[in-house]
C-alpha cells in the first residue's frame, strides 16, 4: 500500500503520527539525498552524516513543512544546507553562505569562452554506462568549485527550477543563472577534452572586444 501512495498522502499520514509512512518516504528519497551529499562533499562519511541529519531534521520539522514545495525539494534543500555547513566547517568559516554579493566577476562579460570545441565520439548513454568514463564524469564534477557544483547539482541533476535553486541557497535568480552557465561551460570544456573527437574539432571564432 505505502509503496503506491503519493508523497502528499504519506506526508499527511506521517504528520498524523504514522511512523511507517515516514519510513516509506525516507526509503523513497534516501538515495537521492545521499547521492546529492556525496556529490557535494565527495566523502562517504560526510555524506552519511548529512543524510542522517537531513532525515532527522525532516522528522523534527515535519509539522512545519507547509507543502508549498514538493517533499523532495524540501528535503534537498535541508540536505544542501547541511552539506554547506560541512563545507564551512572544513574551511573554518563561521556562517553558511554562498557569498552572494562578494564576487566582483559574476556577470556574463566574464563567462569563459569555449576553447576546445569538438563533437563527442560517443553518446551520453554510452559514456555513463562504462566504469572508466563514468569515473571521468564524476571527476569533472568534483573539480568544479562548490558554488558552481551545488547549483549544477540542484538545477541539472535534481531538476529544481532556477527559482527553487535560488530559494534553497539564498541567492538571487540572476546569480543562479550566471553560475549555472559557468558550471555548464566548465564541465563542457573538461568533458570535451576527454570525449571530443580530434577529427571533428572546430576552432572557436575570433572574439573581438565589445565596442
Amino acid at each position: 500500500m505505502n509503496e503506491l501512495s503519493s508523497d502528499q498522502e504519506l506526508v499527511r499520514r506521517a504528520k498524523a503520527g504514522e511512523l511507517e509512512a515516514f519510513e516509506t518516504l525516507a526509503g523513497r528519497y534516501e538515495r537521492k539525498v545521499y547521492s546529492l551529499a556525496r556529490r557535494i562533499l565527495r566523502y562517504e562519511q560526510d555524506a552519511e552524516d548529512v543524510t542522517q541529519q537531513t532525515f532527522l531534521s525532516a522528522l523534527e520539522h515535519l509539522e512545519g513543512f507547509r507543502e508549498e514545495s514538493s517533499f523532495s525539494t524540501w528535503l534537498l534543500r535541508v540536505a544542501t544546507h547541511a552539506a554547506l555547513k560541512v563545507i564551512r566547517k572544513r574551511k573554518g568559516l563561521p556562517t553558511v553562505s554562498l557569498e552572494a554579493n562578494s564576487e566582483p566577476q559574476e556577470d556574463y562579460d566574464t563567462v569563459p569562452h569555449p576553447e576546445y570545441i569538438a563533437d563527442w565520439r560517443e553518446s551520453p548513454e554510452e559514456l555513463v554506462s562504462r566504469n572508466e568514463t563514468a569515473r571521468l564524469i564524476d571527476e569533472a564534477l568534483s573539480e568544479l568549485d562548490e558554488k558552481h557544483r551545488v547549483i549544477f547539482l540542484l538545477r541539472d541533476v535534481e531538476g529544481l527550477s532556477v527559482k527553487e535553486t535560488a530559494d534553497a541557497l539564498g541567492l538571487s535568480e540572476a546569480n543562479v543563472k550566471v553560475r549555472l552557465l559557468r558550471a555548464r561551460l566548465q564541465l563542457r570544456e573538461r568533458l570535451t577534452r576527454q570525449f571530443g573527437d580530434p577529427a571533428r574539432q572546430f576552432e572557436p571564432h575570433q572574439h573581438t572586444e565589445a565596442n
Binding site: 538515495r31 545521499y34 542522517q52 570545441i117 569538438a118 553518446s123 543563472k177 561551460l185 570535451t192 572574439h207
Partner: protein
C-alpha cells in the same frame, strides 16, 4: 547575433526559455556557425550525462543505522506509534 551574445543566452536556449524572436536569431546564428552548433550540442550532452548518472547506493550498514536512528527519534518525539 555574435558568438558572445549567443553564449550569454545559452542557458535560456537550452532550457527552452527564450522568446520566439530571440530564438529565431539564435537559430539563424547557429545555422551559419559550426563551433557554436557544436558547443550547444556539447552542453546538451553534458547535462544529459549527469542527469542519466546512477544515484549512489547507501552502504547497507549505514541504511540500517539511519532507519534505527529515525525510529528512535520518532519514539522520543511522539511516543509509541
Amino acid at each position: 547575433m555574435k558568438c558572445e551574445e549567443l553564449l550569454a543566452m545559452l542557458n535560456e536556449y537550452v532550457d527552452g526559455g527564450v522568446d520566439p524572436g530571440v530564438c529565431e536569431q539564435f537559430e539563424k546564428h547557429l545555422a551559419g556557425c559550426n563551433p557554436c552548433q557544436v558547443v550547444v550540442d556539447n552542453i546538451r550532452k553534458t547535462i544529459t550525462l549527469y542527469k542519466e548518472g546512477q544515484p549512489y547506493e547507501l552502504p547497507v550498514q549505514f541504511r540500517e543505522r539511519l532507519h534505527s536512528a529515525l525510529r528512535a527519534k520518532w519514539l522520543e518525539k511522539r511516543g509509541t506509534n
